[in-house]
Amino acid sequence: MDVKLFGLIAEKAGTERMQLSAPDTDALLRALEQHIPGLSSLSYALAVDRKIVRDNVKLGGGEEIALLPPFAGG
């Protein structure tokens, strides 16, 4: 699945997009932490279909996934 990266996380990853597959969000985050140096020490949220998800949820593969560093709007 396609994972969108933003702000500091996109900077650390050196890209705004990543292709990964995982059966659920916990597995996806483990894969992301392997691919993005220092991700585990950063503060971030995971969005599935534009909603922030805190618990582990199953993924079918068609979801819109995004990794969001702290917000800074306004």
């Binding site: 969108k4 933003f6 702000g7 500091l8 900077e11 969005a47 534009r50 909603k51 819109e64 995004a66 969001l68 560093p69 702290p70 917000f71 800074a72 709007g73 306004g74």
Partner: protein
């Protein structure tokens, strides 16, 4: 405001700074609405903050040129635009459910906004002042909390760090 208008797909993002002339136009458009007695407006302006401590630099990228960045020259805003607009639609509905406001307009900048330029515009109107005042305070605070907008503070002389709302 009608149900249809409330649910209309809106995009709050504008490229570059918010022009004071745009604010004037937005205000002037309300002169035909004779049930409005009060307008409340919040504007966010980019501050030339000084970097206070070396810890503040923890997340900045490799410095280019000058190794002693001091003040913020600009903020580059990026956003997860679809999610931000969906969150805004939800905040809008909450505001209309809670206060009898006549209208609510929200705009946020994308791209590089220099110190002294405007990046955020919240505008509510109502018959009496209390409702518009409370709605603008609520919407301003919720936008800062809930919209996935990211700000790269660019320092004078090179270097940057990522802003985050507290």
């Amino acid at each position: 405001m009608s149900e249809t208008k409330t649910h209309k797909k809106r995009d709050i993002f504008v490229e570059g700074p918010i022009d004071p002339a745009f604010i004037a136009e937005s205000i002037a458009k309300h002169s035909t609405k004779h049930d409005i007695g009060a307008h409340e407006i919040f504007l966010g302006q980019v501050r030339a903050d000084e970097l206070k401590s070396p810890q503040g630099m923890a997340t900045r990228g490799p410095a280019t040129g000058n190794q002693q960045p001091t003040t913020v020259q600009a903020i580059e805003y990026t956003a997860y635009r679809d999610m931000a607009n969906e969150q805004m639609a939800a905040i809008r509905e909450e505001a209309f459910a809670r206060w009898p406001i006549t209208c609510l307009h929200v705009h946020h900048s994308q791209g590089i906004i220099k110190a002294g330029e405007l990046c955020f515009f919240v505008f509510a109107s109502s018959a009496h002042r209390q409702m518009a005042r409370e709605a603008v305070a609520y919407v301003t605070d919720e936008v800062k909390k809930r919209l996935p907008i990211f700000g790269k503070e660019i320092f004078q002389g090179g270097g940057h760090q990522w802003k985050h709302n507290t």
